[in-house]
Amino acid sequence: MTYTAYMSPNGTFGTVRELSTGIAYEDVGIAPYVNFAFDLDGQADGGSNEGTYFELGVGPALDFPDSPVSLSSPVAIGLSVSDYYETGDQSDSFGFFQFGLVAGIPLPTAPEYGSWELSIEAKFIAFGDALKSINGADDGFEPVAVFGLSLGY
């Protein structure tokens, strides 16, 4: 269970307080999970009511025994249980469908400085009508690339 306060120091959106919970099962190949999130105060969609969000996804890993690089192909669908994706007086149930490919590349750093990893992710998101309207997008499809660097120690 996780409490999150989403805040915008530059004032782009109002603070949203959320409580979320979920279950993940990683011992099977596709690593399925479900998440529920409840707006306690404020709305992520900028609508008029606090909403409830539901996400269902999998994160199957692709093994390459001779390579240190890890690959996974996460797939997720985001739904509004109530008022999470509001446009005007309407509230859509379908939010988005997303699939992608994530590569994790361990960096050859000295072990005394922890485990460094570079990650590269390409994901493709298909939006429902409500999110198309909220995002101000003409089409309902958006590719997103993400690069990251992590340190574990």
Partner: protein, 363 residues
């Protein structure tokens, strides 16, 4: 914004992490050297690992080393830093790595802390003195270079972190200038390098002071610190003196008309108490404006900023289970005597008391 504490000079053992003067307590009056208290600080010295005890067994070295700081040592440091950074990025044996392998230690440490107070003064400048002030922070320290002997240049550390100040008083509510994220008065990013040279410690720190609730405009600052561990020379009468010079590059802490330069000098004598299970120190600090640091753009300006005297108490929580980091409780009470400018900023009150409590965990 915080009031600085000088870094600790003491590097009792080769892996005691050097400090950078970045952590400051509620009220900005108390100096923090949280980065000193890495897990290795705690683990390798028993049972107290406050900064005072860290500074204990430091050898006093001949004065001639002092003169090498700005010349040969500086050049050597440049070469070492470049080499060590390359070694960090690409696997190889840096001097630090070799040392770490010998002792089965690691070269990354961090600290998470929370201080609470009823007021927040930064270098004597009133930020808040009503309601509740909570100041969470976190930082990471990378030991770039270590040498077995604490002679010459024996340690180089790189650090960065975030420091925040959350207020419920006027500066953190709709009663003041705060907008949107109202309680989040301040969020600072800092990064720097600390050098341990004999029993001296020198640091250079960049800090970006930002206000998420828009109470003040962002300030970029470069600060230079120098401190000396005089424990071995003066024993129980050691003063642990420090100097700090902070140069505003963009923005002004005083809200005045020009970027200023701040100078600070202080000492912090201390002792172990409770049979060595806790530490007590009495920091004294003077803060001055070298140029435009305490001015409001009109006729009000002061060279003398403030005098701060306090009592700081540190108590490591050794009852915490192994594997959950090194916890420490701290408390302090300070009295600030403010100069003309700061007195005016503080609603005409020339004397201000600030008490605070804190908890930190090093890992």
């Amino acid at each position: 914004m915080r009031a600085e504490r000088p870094p600790f000079c003491g590097l009792v053992q080769k892996h005691v992490v050097a400090a950078i003067p970045v952590k400051y307590a509620a009220g900005g009056h108390r100096h923090r050297a949280r980065l000193v208290r890495s897990r290795r600080n705690v683990a390798q010295n028993s049972p107290i690992r406050s900064r005072r005890t860290v500074s204990r067994a430091k050898k006093w070295e001949p004065r001639e080393h002092m003169t090498t700081f700005g010349t040969k040592s500086t050049a050597a440091f440049g070469r070492l830093l470049v080499g060590a950074l390359v070694a960090v990025i690409f696997e190889g044996l840096s001097p630090v790595a070799t040392l770490a392998q010998d002792s089965n230690s690691q070269n990354i440490s961090g600290t998470v802390s929370l201080d609470v107070s009823h007021a927040y003064f930064f270098r004597g400048i009133k930020k808040e003195r009503q309601g509740f002030v909570g100041q969470p922070s976190g930082d990471l320290n990378f030991a770039i270079f270590r040498k077995q002997e604490a002679e010459g240049l024996h340690s180089v550390d790189f650090q960065f972190g975030l420091w925040n100040s959350l207020h419920t008083g006027p500066s953190g509510s709709g009663d003041g200038p705060a907008t949107h994220v109202k309680t989040w008065y301040e969020s600072d990013f800092f990064t720097g390098v600390t050098l341990g040279i004999d029993n001296w410690e020198a640091g250079i720190i960049y800090t970006s002071y930002m206000s998420p609730n828009d109470s003040f405009d962002s300030i970029q600052e470069i600060a230079f610190s120098l401190s000396i561990d005089d424990e071995d020379r003066f024993g129980r009468y050691s003063m642990q003196p420090h100097l700090l010079l902070a140069v505003e590059m963009n923005g002004e802490a005083d809200g005045g008309s020009g970027e200023g330069v701040y100078f600070e000098i202080g000492v912090e004598p201390g002792m172990e108490i409770l049979s060595g299970d806790a530490s007590l120190s009495v920091p004294l600090t003077f803060g001055f404006s070298m140029s435009d640091y305490y001015e409001n753009g009109d006729d009000l300006a002061s060279t003398f900023g403030y005098f701060d005297v306090g009592i700081d108490f540190g108590y490591p929580l050794t009852m915490m289970a192994l594997g959950y980091g090194d916890w420490e409780f701290s408390a302090g009470i300070h009295m600030l005597s403010l100069g003309d400018f700061l007195k005016a900023v503080n609603d005409g009150d020339g004397v201000q008391s600030v008490a605070s409590f804190g908890m930190s965990v090093g890992f």
